[in-house]
């Protein structure tokens, strides 16, 4: 762990801050790199933002003027510099496919993705850790081998297909559940009181979360089971039992704490997966999040929106990895107090 080496040098909080600082500094060129790469690739693709407006009756000269107003006629590097300057000063530009400023468009979509991604993360790691640990403790039992098969089955399932099957089930034999199958809020949402609004959104969250989370939950379960098995084989478990502690204390206080350490780093890996993976799920469930926004924006060649969304995605990924590293250091004394 990079953090470990840094902490070895000093100890305590100010090293942590210095480490986080250096990681953030490193992130800046990375972010610029990502956004530049996206800019170049987008402009390489045929077609341009006017594709969305390509209206048979708009005379060619009007289209030309539109292109000029978007600055598409200027050389590529000039467009890039102009965009970078405005981007860095916080002006994300105007989204032509959504007819609204980009910041506003993202402002509406990001919370929805964070909500779905966040809930999924909690469900995934909640289930993953509980089932994984439970299964490891019952190693070689029938439950263990059955669960191993089930987690492998779920882990191999395409998320979008699971989503479709859930919609099929919810609109046929599970119809009596009345689970909403699309969107984030029901129609009269704005009329509902605060509590009903939450339960309304919660209802809409059920199926997408299962579709997005089940596969990852199975993955985390398998990972935690492996980690737990390894910990259960350690010598200090024998010492704990030899002390005469109850089995529950041995498992919770000793085994689980050690097994969950590497799971924290898994968190960093899963962050981009959840937000990236959410795209297909958002399309299937028409969840108004960043994934679907990005999909429509790229198809419509909405350059400002795609660039801003890509930047945000990269920030999420980098923040995720950094968070995982820092969490790992905080949780594992061997790193914190080298």
């Amino acid at each position: 762990m990079g953090l470990g080496r840094a902490l070895v040098a000093g100890s305590g909080v100010e090293t942590l801050i210095r480490y986080v600082g250096s990681r953030l500094l490193q992130a800046i060129p990375l972010l610029i790199g990502v956004v530049t790469l996206v800019f170049v690739i987008l402009h390489l693709a045929p077609g341009d933002p006017t594709a969305i407006w390509f209206n048979p009756s708009i005379p060619p000269e009007v289209l030309e003027r539109m292109r000029e107003s978007m600055g598409l006629d200027r050389p590529l590097y000039e467009q890039y510099l102009h965009w970078l300057k405005s981007f860095l000063t916080g002006d994300f530009g105007y989204s032509y496919s959504q007819f609204r400023p980009v910041s506003e468009v993202i402002g509406d979509a990001l919370p929805n993705t964070l909500l779905l991604g966040g809930v999924c993360l909690i469900v995934v790691f909640g289930i993953g850790m509980a089932v994984g640990a439970w299964q490891a403790v019952r190693r070689h039992s029938a439950a263990d081998s059955m669960l191993t098969f089930v987690t492998l089955f779920l882990y191999s399932m395409p998320g979008f297909w699971l989503g479709l099957m859930l919609i099929l089930a919810a609109s046929t034999w599970l119809g009596w559940l009345g689970l909403p199958v699309s969107g984030m809020t029901s129609v009269d949402h704005s009329l509902l009181g605060p509590l009903d609004r939450i339960s309304d959104i919660a209802g809409h969250l059920v199926l997408p979360t299962i579709a997005l989370g089940l596969g990852s939950a199975a993955g985390v379960t398998r990972y935690v089971r492996g980690e737990m098995l390894e910990v259960l084989g350690q010598d200090y478990m024998r010492t704990a039992r030899a002390k005469g502690l109850t089995e529950r204390t041995v498992i919770l206080r000793h085994a689980l704490r050690n097994a969950l350490l590497p799971v924290v780093s898994l968190l960093g890996l899963y962050l981009p997966l959840l937000f990236g993976g959410a795209l297909v799920i958002e399309v299937v469930f028409s969840w108004p999040g960043m994934g679907r926004l990005m999909y429509d924006a790229v198809l419509a060649r909405d350059y400002p929106l795609v660039l801003a969304a890509s930047f945000l995605f990269a920030v999420l990924v980098i923040a995720g990895n950094l968070l995982a590293d820092v969490l790992y250091a905080l949780v594992d004394p061997r790193v914190r107090h080298a």
Binding site: P46, H140, Y155, S156, F160, L164, L229, G276, A314
Partner: protein
């Protein structure tokens, strides 16, 4: 057939194998015997049952037809050779801890499934009951699964079972090729970064971070829009965006192996780093790469299916599992079979890869035991 000696000594049983490979082992109650025999008989039955189609493939050779014929002959030869090999003496089964066995069994099931899936894909032109692209706008449209159409028909009356079989070819092909590219790039980058260290290592790892934080979707859509969407394109794109994990894995392994004495010894003897990398470091890194590759194929197949579902993957008329699912997407409720069966095929295939990957990993690293 000369008379069989009364006590049916081993040599007598061996002759039977010539005609029915694996028979002797089956008689000896060995599982592998039944498997080989079963494979041999079913392949023969297929060849006999599909005589007319084989004749047609020979007279009007088409690409897929020739592949099917070649694989039929190949599989028959393989089974025959395996069947007739001398029955290996009872292997001294040392005290093998139970966990090793279980992981091997999982790997065995995985490999078994893969062999079946692989041969079904290769033999698709012979196995498929109907031509996958044959349209029947009359009575054949949207039939539910039945005896004649095991997986029902789609909205153009095409037989779904045949399309899923042919779809297997596309999906498996893309999975393998994409991972081949990803693993090659990943290993190269990881090895150089791990071995060279210093600024080169930092540079390569920052590039890995760059690719990891890059929205894969933008690259995929742009490339699909830029060039004509086709299988090679999908393979390259999936390969280009899938190598980062492998490179980190390889780098970690190379770092640990590099410190080992025998590598320093090799360096002391003046070997060039290229040779050291190839001869000493990489072979030891091979096992985790194989495991990562096997698990990676599963993910590549899932990625291709998602891409095709979004309309960005394999373009019709070539049918991949993803496109079939997409075509059934809007008929979810009353033509559920169009979406369900290709999905199950994906799950089964990806699971078998994961089974093999898991089995290998646990078998090669017993500490994490099955």
């Amino acid at each position: 057939m000369h008379e069989v000696r009364s006590n049916g000594g081993p040599s007598a049983r061996r002759e039977l194998d010539l005609l029915f490979p694996g028979l002797s082992r089956a008689l000896a109650g060995r599982g592998s015997g039944f498997l080989l025999l079963g494979a041999w008989l079913s392949l023969l039955a297929l060849a006999v049952y599909r005589r007319p189609r084989i004749a047609e493939f020979i007279s009007h050779p088409t690409g897929s037809g020739l592949v099917a014929l070649a694989s039929l002959v190949g599989l028959l030869a393989l089974t025959w050779i395996a069947g007739t090999r001398a029955v290996d003496p009872g292997d001294p089964s040392g005290a093998v801890p139970a966990s090793r066995l279980r992981s091997d069994r999982r790997a065995a099931i995985g490999i078994g499934l893969l062999v079946v899936l692989g041969s079904a894909a290769l033999l698709a032109p012979l196995l498929a009951p109907f031509d996958p692209d044959l349209i029947d706008l009359g009575a054949g449209r949207l039939l539910a699964p039945s005896a004649s159409h095991w997986m029902g028909t789609d909205e153009l009356g095409r037989d779904l079972f045949s399309r899923v079989l042919y779809g297997a070819r596309v999906s498996l092909l893309i999975g393998f090729l994409a991972i081949a590219i990803a693993v090659t790039i990943g290993t190269a980058v990881g090895a150089v970064a791990g071995y060279a260290g210093g600024w080169l290592d930092a540079l390569l790892m920052r590039t890995v971070d760059l690719f990891l934080s890059f929205p894969r979707l933008v690259l995929l859509i742009t490339v699909v829009a830029l060039f004509e969407p086709s299988i090679p394109l999908i393979v390259v794109v999936l390969g280009l965006t899938g190598w980062m994990g492998v490179s980190r894995l390889v780098r970690g392994q190379v770092l640990s192996v590099r410190e080992r004495e025998y590598v320093q010894a090799a360096r002391a003897m003046g070997y060039g780093s290229g040779r050291i990398l190839r001869r000493h470091v990489l072979p030891n890194v091979a096992t985790p790469i194989i495991v990562a590759a096997t698990l990676g194929i599963g993910n590549a197949i899932l990625a291709e299916a998602a891409l095709s579902y979004l309309g960005l993957g394999v373009q019709p008329p070539t049918a991949s599992w993803g496109t079939i699912i997409q075509s059934g997407g809007d008929r979810l409720v009353d033509a559920w079979w169009i979406t369900t069966f290709p999905g199950l095929a994906i799950v089964l295939t990806v699971m078998s890869f994961n089974l093999v990957g898991d089995g290998l990993r646990d078998a090669l690293d017993p500490r994490r035991g099955g």
